[in-house]
Point group: C2
Chain length 392, copies 2
């Protein structure tokens, strides 16, 4: 079976693996167990919704690179990666979701067979899907191994995007433009919230005539009226009401690369508090965009934004953005850089951020955000959606 | 702010909490840290896409019950639970996704303030989103606590559904009927796979005129031709081809309660191997349905099915179903009972299973499944979708 689903040239995957091995060496690691699906996908191309059971990719400094997962998911590895069949290793199905046996015990056996059990092994202790028990099973089964936390080691390698990755991000940007076009066309008071969500999902998956829409790592988030104070609420079957504001936190994806972008919808004439915040946020984006260039730090950008807000009478005590790229549920962020005062990471060309000046108050909320590519000339928005309240 | 989003009567939540405390007592636990979003939701009603950051519900044998999460998610707790504001506790935003600080360290401080730090504490070591580092941070910060694995303790309490839960499951069943109706209407060769996915997502979210469609814990899975060997593949932008089979593993959800249901689509005249398997699987469902009644075991059901398959020349070496109910990504299963030979769990009325006789071969795949409620009279399907290959 050939890798009919490959998204990047083999050379690009090799380059990513080399970068990762270099970072492993710097961290004193001989082997790394990669459990975060986004890291697995970035390193090898593996793409399937199988992360609800234990799986990983193992990469070593002696050239080791293999996928380990459930038997029925091995064909996904054949279709989506360039790994030879000898490096697609699977555990039997009675290891799935049972308290009796753990897939990581099976992996330990493979480590012993391959003489990897005395290595210095990195594990992603705080990445998604690497459970406390997964680590316990590994550590108990491999008493001679030396384990070290390597949370986000691969995530950091993903920060600067390749030209092909930037193309995918820009295509996701084209898709999100279509999504907001659809919202403007169809949203109206009286419609059930789920009907609006249905239109959004249809548009984001349909994509453009050239570029398909992939599923997004977070579903559409929306909150209306008082409920807009809750920034991670999803829809129900209640109706859109006139003279109310609603935030929409949406994204589009292409080949798993995400362009998140939020706007606020208002049915009727937006009250002064909406209009004032709209202006302040729009101006802050204009002001911040040129600062998304190599050399500036995440902290400087965040502080500039917070100062600007403060000057206009607003306070924000949560981060105003984060690094983005390829992603699987439950998050479209890369969990490396955050736009907040404490983060001293230095921007480099090819990095990408969701600049997220969302404001949530006791009984309302407002979002108007951009996904921004760092270039030598300053920030370049991935999408072109009117930067204003969507009024209907 | 009132709990405008409540889905069950307060008495039902109280009953669930009581059941859980009884199970805790049997397990020798004084306190339980619940991190699985499905368990959090089932115990308290909490509902939001905030599980991409650390959060939990803490339940204790002295009446303790509080939510702990990120500050900006506290309003979600006000809107979706009956917890008083004093029991909605949050950590500051600079604890989010950083290697410097861990939210579980902040929780440890709360435990000390509330004199909970010497208790016998259960943790869901192998449930979703409870990372190895989350446990390490807790254990290091609370050296006087005694920790014990309580993986799936709450999941097991969810196994038997209440009348209101069954209503939600049946509504999800009505929604999935609409989804397959849509598939039959729109699917045709030449269409891009993402366009079919867009229609599926639209139909599953639109729901019925009475009942809204919630997001599903897994996105539509689909594989065509050779790719149908990979059972957890999602769509891309390639086109549906004539004279090919495609499995569709879909679900609908209502108030987070899921009805998964799979069918196989064929454009043209299905070859004999499809028709033969269709007949065998259809007969096996007819034969198995009456066995979904109290007293039978998961293992007996699975063995009856495997024997039937074997008799017709097929072998299946993976489980043929699992318990279902309310769920959040990444899985719509409850991760307690599996329909496989090794599982001796006894069926009880009100349990619900996705009976999953999916077959994947080297270069094709076939799925025809049912979601089934256990009743004294045998299994009752949650949905009524023609049990045959969908031919177009």
């Amino acid at each position: 079976m050939k890798a009919s689903r490959r998204r990047f040239e083999p050379a690009e995957y090799l380059e990513r693996q080399t970068k990762t091995r270099t970072a492993m060496e710097a961290a004193g690691l001989e082997l790394l167990i990669v459990t975060d699906p986004s890291n697995i996908g970035w390193l090898t191309g593996f793409d399937g919704w199988s992360f609800y059971v234990h799986q990983c990719v193992v990469i070593g400094n002696q050239g080791e690179l293999f996928w380990f997962g459930r038997g029925i998911d091995a064909p996904t590895a054949y279709l989506t990666t360039d790994l030879p069949p000898s490096e697609v290793l699977s555990y039997p199905d009675h290891y799935v979701q049972t308290s009796e046996l753990h897939p990581m015990e099976y992996l330990a056996t493979i480590f012993k067979q391959r003489q990897l059990h005395t290595r210095r092994i990195g594990v992603e202790k705080d990445n998604y899907y690497f459970s406390a028990r997964a680590f316990e099973a590994l550590a108990t089964s491999l008493p001679t191994a030396h384990f070290q936390d390597a949370t986000c080691l691969v995530n950091w390698q993903r920060a600067i995007k390749s030209p092909q990755e930037i193309i995918y991000l820009q295509r996701a940007g084209q898709v999100i433009e279509q999504v907001y076009q659809r919202v403007l066309e169809v949203a109206e008071p009286g419609m059930r919230k789920n009907e609006l969500a249905a239109e959004i999902l249809h548009a984001s998956t349909w994509g453009t005539a050239e570029h398909y829409g992939d599923y997004t790592a977070i579903v559409p988030l929306m909150g209306m009226g008082e409920e807009a104070s809750a920034c991670h609420l999803t829809w129900d079957g209640t109706r859109l009401e006139p003279d109310q504001g609603m935030f929409l936190e949406l994204a589009a994806a292409h080949h798993r690369y995400h362009c998140p972008l939020s706007r606020t919808l208002y049915f009727g004439k937006p009250p002064a508090k909406y209009r004032k915040l709209e202006q302040v946020i729009a101006e802050s984006i204009e002001r911040l965009l040129p600062l998304f260039k190599p050399g500036n730090t995440c902290g400087e950008l965040a502080q500039t934004f917070f100062n600007y807000l403060h000057h206009h009478g607003y306070e924000k005590n949560n981060r105003c953005g984060y690094s983005i790229g390829m992603s699987y549920p439950p998050d479209w962020g890369e969990r490396t850089m955050s736009l907040r005062a404490e983060d001293s990471s230095i921007l480099q060309a090819g990095m990408c951020f969701h600049f997220m000046p969302g404001m949530w108050f006791e009984d309302w909320g407002f979002e108007m955000t951009e996904s921004i590519l760092v270039t030598a000339q300053g920030g370049a928005c991935l999408a072109n959606v009117p930067r204003q309240i969507l009024v209907k």
